[in-house]
Amino acid sequence: MTAERHIDHGSPMHQFVIGRLNDWQLGGFDISFSKAAAFMFGAVIVATLFLVLTTSRRAMVPGRWQSVAELWYEFIADMIKETIGGEGRKYFPFVFSLFSFIVICNLLGMLPYSYTVTSHIAVTITLALAVFALTTFIGITRHGTRFLSFFVPKGVPLVMLFLVVPIEVLSYFMRPISHSVRLFANMTAGHTMLKVFGGFVVQMGVFGVLPFALIVALTGLEVAIAVLQAYVFTILTCLYLNDAIHLEH
């Protein structure tokens, strides 16, 4: 199978090849460890160590690093408060973990020779489906059959409902796709573009300074996108949670 899956080492797409560090199987499932899995655990370790070490002094007047941890915490807490309200507190650890995982994976991917976990649709669709399953579960358990009224907008004439309800249902089930593709596509596009311009630097010899300068600028942009897309993914999660909790459009 790997024979037909060959991608040339010089290709801008080669950075997305995961490969296998071993060939573990469990009950028919392929659970081979790869650099993707390594970077996922890397993100877990970075998030945990950062938050634990920066708060180790528990300073009344926070230092620089402790301020970052507090801002990080309050950024998500405020986001939940503003989008969901008081009932959202229960989901704070989940939303915080989601944001932290994505933002650290995105930023780790900006390091040279590293790998970007979130550039794979397999990862982003899993996260998006988890959010989708959670919000649907919350909607059904909180509201029972009234959850179906979410698909019936208020104030729409009866005749139009035959058109509007299928659209609402379809858009609801399209959520995980748009949710996951947005992040995956941004990461893939950014990293591909950097690699393409990187190739130009080598090919153009002396004139390679031009694409090199562009890479410097694009790297800054990509760092911003890395944070922004993590924020977008997280705030959409909050909005979906709010829909499920309050059944509002």
């Binding site: 995961i18 915490y73 550039s119 990862v123 988890a130």
Partner: protein, 167 residues
Amino acid sequence: MPQFWMEDFAPQMVWLVISFIALYLLMARVALPRVADVLETRHGRIADDLDQAAQLKAQAETVIAEYEAALADARSRAQATMAQAGVEAAAAAERRNAEVAAVLAAEATAAAGRITDAKNDALAELRGVAVELAQAAAERLIDAPVDRGEVDRAVDAAMQHIGIGGR
């Protein structure tokens, strides 16, 4: 694109689920309570400080109120003392005036008595002199002894006539 190599989906998903659950547990159990603790401690401390400041302010206001009450009390007491002193001084002056007036009145009365006595003595002497003079004058004029009793009566009548008493 390597992103669509289906054989890579399962291992990524498996490790994603495992690592994400690990992250969730580490965040929910370890990291987030630490940060929350730091933030809550600070907020609690700030609230405590504000409470304490409010308490001290209330205390200061109580002390000021007490001080002002004491001041007002002292002022009113001073005024009362002053008023009483004024009343007492007036009474003492009145009393002394009355005493002096009584003394003066007694002295005046005594003086009046002495004057009356002196006047009576003088009148009595005057009468005796007048009787002797009148008797001697009448004896010289008529060259005969005059009865003392008649002279007495005549002098009495004369003195009564001019309004200076007599017997």
